[in-house]
Symmetry: C2
Subunit: 121 residues, 2 copies
DNA sequence: AGCACAAATGAAAATGATTTTCATTCCCAT
DNA sequence: ATGGGAATGAAAATCATTTTCATTTGTGCT
């Protein structure tokens, strides 16, 4: 595997910590940085490995990467401007554990995201 | 828009109520049913419109369609065999509402899924 | 400086899901 | 039967992502 190109991370930050590989690439192009699309993909993959970013999917299936604290957490995302708040999910953790137990599931993980419009939008 | 081809829904049922468009297509082929891939996509899209199926994404981004009751609910999915249980999410509903309120978000929706290994796997 | 070798880069091709186009086939009401 | 709209599907187009592979870059060593 390869190490992440630092300019990719910098660009993701500049983008508001929330963008797809294609978007990061286009943003870098627009700002005159010379980089290949392949490198952007590789860098994001590497950041993902190192748990420096999080990935989730747009409705159309495109992967979006997001700067993220390492610990387990959930998100509140604005559908309008993309602003993201990391939130604590104690209730979810308990719910997931309870449900898994009830149906005899082992080795469980979960996803939970909230979407809406932020105060500004 | 077009109406769903009933054989597509029948096949999705036969597949355990859980499959991607490509999988439904391949399954129908294997069983000697004559149908075009385009029709499979269109039918699933239509079933989705009518809220007869649910869609979510595999890790690689492929859309999987699932027979689903119409009311709002969540899922417990087996990573091994794909078996899915519809579960009630009262705790989630409350959590989402609380969090949205706390950060002033309006017009909120949410997703929540639990993944694990079922007793048989 | 000059060399060797590994890691990083990126252009181009390959892949794979999904959508679009468009000509043909079906089906139904007149 | 017939005219027109709906349904169908083959083939092409799109689009994100991955793979290939040749080139460039960086680093340590002499
Ligand atoms: Zn907003
Ligand atoms: Zn959690
Ligand atoms: Zn199972
Ligand atoms: Zn819910």
């Amino acid at each position: 595997m390869s190490r992440s190109n630092p300019r990719v991370l910098a660009t993701l930050e500049r983008a508001g910590g929330f963008a797809s590989a294609q978007e990061v690439y286009r943003l870098m192009q627009r700002e005159g940085e010379s980089i290949g699309l392949t490198t952007v993909y590789r860098s994001l993959q590497s950041l993902l490995n190192d748990k420096i970013v999080d990935v989730l999917r747009r409705e159309d299936g495109e992967a979006i990467y997001r700067l993220c604290g390492g610990a387990h957490h959930h998100h509140l995302v604005c559908k309008g401007c993309g602003e993201t708040v990391e939130i604590e999910g104690g209730a979810i953790e308990k719910w997931a554990k309870t449900m898994a137990q009830e149906f005899g599931f082992r080795d469980v993980g979960h996803t939970a995201e909230i979407f809406g419009l932020c105060p500004k939008c």
